[in-house]
């Protein structure tokens, strides 16, 4: 089902659950399942304890009734960094989601997915400044916090992705994962430096580059028109049909540059179209998360 149709079916949290449940149901059972639960020590059984945690082997061998205690541990701290600048709030066709709407649903689904994996998930929204900061937590309620943060105001004129990423790095005290969701219509050098810095801190960095299909193909039906950047005010008059192929070549060139730049920094990069099913970016992010174990 395409993203816009799916989004039309219900609220953000409901849809996100569907997305994540569908994704997890489709995954193979991992041999590393339970990785987040590690044995810590035994203690004497006390009435009311869950019999599922009784160490039956010790009971049979030594006739001692011991309960196995586990140290619940999130082995991953992830921070999702969402660009909410004005350029994200745009769609080329009425039947599509804006890049921001698509990214918000992606954030909701991704954070739910990570929380279900008992990871700590933090969330940062930014435009020309930080708009929302939710420190990483692994509790279920954390997801509600993130959903609430998604509704905060934003859509400023610029994108301070470098600052947001730096803030994300600070939120994660030990080795973790930073997921940047942005249309990357921002200064490439700054973000490049920041990604390098995050990588130097040992963080795993994943960049999901959100693109409206028209931004990729320039399939605009308009004739000779002046195209205006709503964020920076830049403009250029062209006839789409005349420059379409050149534009596509330029965008592909830019994507290749992003890919090369992030690969060089050891970051994972994936361009995502807003017409792609949510499962695609989720699988990419989940695969990145799995690589950390």
């Amino acid at each position: 089902m395409d993203p816009a149709s799916l989004a039309a079916l219900g609220r953000l949290e409901v849809i996100s659950r569907w997305i994540v449940d569908g994704l997890l149901a489709g995954l193979h059972r991992s041999p590393k399942k339970g990785f987040s639960v590690e044995f810590a020590e035994h203690r004497t059984y006390q009435p009311g304890d869950d019999l599922r945690f009784m160490d039956w082997k010790v009971a049979a061998r030594a006739d001692k009734w011991l309960i196995k205690q586990y140290e619940e541990e999130t082995n991953l701290r992830a921070t999702i960094v969402l660009d909410v600048s004005r350029s994200m709030d745009w769609k080329s066709q009425p039947q599509l989601l804006t890049k921001l709407a698509y990214a918000e649903r992606l954030v909701a689904a991704l954070s739910l997915l990570l929380i279900k994996q008992r990871d700590s998930v933090g969330f940062i929204r930014f435009d020309d400044q930080l708009r929302s900061v939710v420190p990483p937590k692994s509790r279920t309620v954390q997801w509600k916090r993130i959903l609430t943060a998604l509704g905060d105001p934003g859509s400023g004129q610029g994108s301070d992705a470098a600052g947001a990423l730096a803030q994300a790095g600070k939120l994660i005290r030990r080795r973790g994962m930073v997921i940047l969701i942005s249309d990357l219509l921002l200064d490439s050098q700054e973000i490049d430096d920041t990604v390098h810095a995050l990588r130097a801190q040992g963080h795993d960095v994943t960049i999901l580059h959100i693109l409206d299909p028209a931004e990729r193909t320039f399939d605009m039906a308009a004739g000779e028109s002046e195209f205006v950047d709503p964020e920076r005010g830049d403009s250029l008059a062209v006839t789409p049909a005349d420059v379409r192929e050149l534009y596509r070549a330029t965008v592909n060139e830019a994507i290749d540059e992003w890919r090369a730049r992030f690969s060089g920094a050891g970051a994972f990069y994936e361009p995502i179209g807003t017409d792609q099913p949510f499962g695609v970016p989720l699988r990419r992010a989940f695969a990145a998360r799995q690589r950390l174990n």
Binding site: A214, E215, S225, S235, D242, L246
Partner: protein
């Protein structure tokens, strides 16, 4: 390049649309939010040259499309090298006049002209339109096979034909074809006597090519004149002919299939054969020379009536001059006394008769009543006084001192005016009568006292009044003449009969020979068809001289020369489709350039 619809060139003003769009492309009013403008700016920065080149190329293509459509709508005509010759309407005029039968070392002229005509046909394409026109004015149209067949059956005429008519018809058919490229190809021996008087006007402005076979004509012997003396043989008579040539040759005279005389003829000398044939009635004959390169003018035909002289009765009251003339004819054996033909004053009119107006004006009323009773459709009117000169065969030089205005009663048919005084008829002839407007008196006309009176009278008796005579008419091949009154058939030289209508105009065949008028199964006159003497003069005009006089170009009679000159490969053709195809190609190119044109360059 010219245009059939030049007003359509106004559409070319539409080229301003892409030009203005191109020049004003930065001033467009439509604004569209597009966050990825930085990619557009980068594209323009990195590919500015390609973008500008592409925009310029697109502008030029769009201007070209508009121009091509406008030019196609204007229906241009112009050369299109490399695509064969344009569709052409070609009329091939083959000069098959008598002179084309002349043989030379290279073969008969007509054979070479036909070969040149075949070259034209071989060089034609399916889109061409072809006609074959001959000197008799016959036009044959159709495909190449039809024309080749017509060429195979083409023969030389026995006369000069009508070159002007042939050129006019050739010009008319190509102009009526609707094909823009038109040409008349004249294949001729350029005989000076035939073509000197022909002007470019006959071509009506159509482009023409003159093709004249190489070589010079050889010496030619010919019979140029022939006459029988007298017109009526009783049965003695003579044939007189004139030979033109540079050397002597043999001759013979054939009458009714029998050779009656032979001899040797010297150039310029008269051939005279006194004959007394056995045959009676109207018979045909020939005078023939020994054959040379042009056989057709070595034979000349004649016709003569052989038999008893006409029986005539002279009114006793006739003038002494008339009676004296009749005596001379009777004594000369040119007439005999009898009751057939009456020579008298008009008040005693009957048929057959030679009637003179009464000398006494008081007898005019009686004369008119007698004419009416005799069925003669003429009346004597007001009397006129002269002297006034007479004009007509046998009477030139004579004058009329007094005469009556001859007035037609009703609408006479089959009437010939033999002589005129001023604008009025003076001698008229019809079926069985000759009516003279003056009396046969010296006081009325000096004709009776002139030496020409007796021969004139003899001619009237033998050709107009003899019961079995409609006379002899000598014409050129293809001539048109009037069928004599009461004639119902025309007998061809091969003996075949053709019904004719008395008084109607009749076109004679293009072959030489003797034809006989027939009435009720009897021969009553003859038509002798001989080629024009001028056809025996084989001197030629220089090809360039002939071409100049026709406003044409002259080419050699080679296959390449004829076909190349006829179908001008670089000649004008309608370029309407060409420009439409060009517009479509430009549209395709525009679509290609707009969508993919510089992708490789950009990607590089």
């Amino acid at each position: 390049m010219s245009f059939l619809a030049p007003w359509a060139l106004l559409l070319a003003a539409a080229v301003g649309v892409p030009l203005v769009l191109h020049l004003l492309r930065r001033r467009t009013g439509a604004r569209i939010d597009f966050p990825a403008v930085r990619y557009l700016l980068r594209m323009e920065r990195e590919h500015a040259r390609e973008v500008k080149l592409k925009n310029l190329l697109l502008m030029m293509l769009r201007v070209g499309i508009v121009l091509a459509i406008a030019l196609a709508a204007a229906r241009p005509i112009g050369p299109l090298p490399g695509f064969g010759h344009p569709p052409t309407a070609v009329a091939v005029v083959v000069d098959n006049s008598l002179s084309s039968a002349a043989a030379s070392a290279e073969g008969p002229v007509l054979t070479r002209l036909v070969a040149a005509a075949r070259n034209v046909i071989d060089g034609a394409a399916s889109a061409d339109k072809l006609w074959l026109v001959t000197m008799d004015g016959a036009v044959t149209g159709g495909d190449a096979g039809t024309l080749r067949s017509a060429l195979s059956n083409l023969r030389s005429l026995d006369g000069a034909g009508d070159a002007t008519l042939a050129l006019r018809r050739a010009s008319a058919v190509v102009r009526a074809s609707g094909v823009p490229a038109q040409r008349v190809v004249v294949l001729t021996d350029a005989q000076a006597s035939s073509w000197t008087s022909i002007s470019a006007e006959a071509l009506g402005g159509v482009s023409a090519t003159v093709v004249v076979p190489s070589g010079e004509p050889g010496p030619n012997r010919a019979l140029t004149e022939i006459a029988t003396e007298p017109l009526h043989w009783d049965p003695r008579g003579a044939v007189r002919a004139t030979m033109r040539g540079t050397d002597s040759t043999t001759w013979r005279v054939v009458v009714d299939g029998r050779t009656l005389a032979r001899g040797n003829a010297q150039p310029g000398a008269a051939i005279v054969a006194n004959l007394q044939p056995i045959a009676r009635g109207w018979v045909g004959g020939t005078v023939e020379l020994g054959p040379d390169e042009l056989r057709a003018d070595d034979v000349r035909h004649f016709a003569v009536h052989i038999g008893e002289p006409p029986a005539i009765t002279v009114d006793a009251a006739s003038s002494v001059f008339l009676r004296g003339a009749v005596d001379a004819l009777v004594q000369g054996g040119r007439a005999r006394r009898g009751g057939d033909v009456l020579l008298a004053s008009a008040e005693k009119a009957r048929t057959p008769a030679l009637l003179f107006a009464p000398n006494d004006p008081l007898k005019v009323a009686d004369a008119n009543r007698a004419l009416e009773r005799a069925g003669i459709p003429w009346r004597l009117g007001a009397r006129r006084e002269g002297p006034a000169p007479l004009r007509g065969a046998g009477v030139d030089g004579a004058v009329a001192r007094s005469w009556y205005v001859l007035t037609a009663a009703g609408t006479p048919t089959g009437v010939d005016t033999l002589a005129r005084v001023g604008a009025s008829p003076w001698a008229v002839a019809g079926e069985g009568y000759v009516l003279i407007a003056s009396a046969a008196e010296q006081s009325a006309t000096d004709l009776p006292v002139r030496a020409a009176f007796v021969p004139w009278l003899d001619a009237l008796l033998s050709q107009r009044l003899a019961q079995s005579s409609s006379g002899v008419t000598s014409v050129a091949p293809g001539a048109t003449l009037r069928v004599p009154s009461r004639v119902d058939q025309l007998e061809a030289p091969d003996g075949s009969m053709r019904p004719v209508e008395s008084g109607a105009q009749l076109e004679m065949p293009w072959t030489a020979g003797v034809h006989f008028w027939r009435r009720a199964g009897e021969r009553v006159g003859a038509v002798v068809i001989n080629g024009e003497a001028s056809e025996s003069e084989l001197a030629r005009l220089a090809p360039a001289e002939l071409a100049d006089s026709l406003g044409a170009e002259s080419v050699a009679a080679s296959a390449e020369g004829v076909a190349g000159a006829t179908f001008n490969a670089g000649g004008s053709r309608t370029l309407e489709r060409t420009f439409l195809v060009l517009a479509v190609l430009l549209l395709l190119a525009e679509a290609f350039v707009a969508r993919r044109g510089l992708l490789k360059t950009a990607a590089a």
